[in-house]
């Protein structure tokens, strides 16, 4: 083909069009690959946070349903440490992705788990079906749901 248009032959246009198409395809697939990686990372992070929250629930149950001891059992320190790790990760997720609104759920869990008479000698042992245990359970659910909802919004 020898048709000329502004000194550019149709052959030239077809060649450069092919290149442009290749570059465009590479950009699109690269973006999709990046998105997939971010999605995978976030999924792993959310699963890890949910696991930590479930473990905190177990520790909280164990702590509040057993009688207080004169010396620290070590469970309190574990709860504080694990909670701080969880809150750090939750806050990081929210900073990274605007679709997540999870720190309020984290704060609720912090207050129910370590508020009131946590680490107090006057702490009363409570039954498994007490309001306190129910509140901790519902706050763990609330946090897990907030994480899943955020994931759904971010990667719909």
């Amino acid at each position: 083909v020898t048709t000329e248009f502004w000194n550019v032959t149709l052959k030239d246009l077809l060649i450069s069009g092919g290149w442009l198409l290749t570059i465009f395809g590479w950009v699109v697939s690269s973006r999709q690959a990046n998105q997939r990686e971010i999605r995978k990372e976030m999924r792993t992070e959310i699963d890890a946070c949910c696991k930590m929250a479930a473990e905190l629930l177990t520790k909280g149950r164990q702590y509040y349903t057993t009688p207080p001891t004169p010396t620290s059992s070590g469970t309190e320190a574990e709860i504080r440490f694990d909670l701080q790790r969880l809150l750090t990760r939750v806050e990081r997720i929210e900073k990274r992705c605007a679709a997540f609104d999870v720190t309020n759920a984290g704060v609720e869990l912090m207050d129910s788990l370590t508020g009131g008479d946590f680490e107090s000698v006057s702490r009363q042992q409570v039954p498994h079906n007490s309001d306190l245990i129910s509140k901790i359970e519902s706050d763990v659910h609330f946090l897990m749901d907030a994480l899943e909802d955020g994931f759904g919004r971010q990667f719909k």
């Binding site: 701080q84 912090m110 008479d117």
Partner: protein, 111 residues
């Protein structure tokens, strides 16, 4: 004059409990031994919460909410004079929430 207090450096890396009767390094002890004396002596106080192996709400509430409840300082005054530093924003927000709650309770209780 201003001063910086680090909970981890000046008090404990593992602060625990609400009252002195709960054991060493409680919120009450931190407030009575370090926080309140520093506020009495200095106009501006910065409290660094980093470096600690986790806080319980009971510790933070007693230490900072107790400033309003026990020592009678107002939340507005604290806002002017106290700076909370923490890499974890949740802790910083919680401290101010406890201060505001204590102020609200104190205001409600007044005849």
């Amino acid at each position: 004059m201003s001063k910086t207090l680090s909970v981890a450096r000046d008090f404990s890396r593992s602060p625990a409990g609400r009252f002195r009767s709960d054991g060493q390094y409680s919120g009450e002890e931190f407030r009575e031994r370090l926080l309140w004396p520093a506020l009495e002596e200095f106009d501006q106080l910065e409290v660094d919460l980093d470096g600690v192996l986790g806080f319980g709400s009971s510790f933070l509430e007693e230490a900072f909410g107790g400033l309003v409840r026990v020592h009678g300082i107002s939340a507005a005054d604290l806002r002017r004079r106290l700076v909370i530093r923490s890499a974890l924003g949740i802790y910083k927000n919680r401290v101010w929430k406890y201060v505001e709650d204590a102020q609200r309770d104190a205001t409600t209780k007044k005849p």
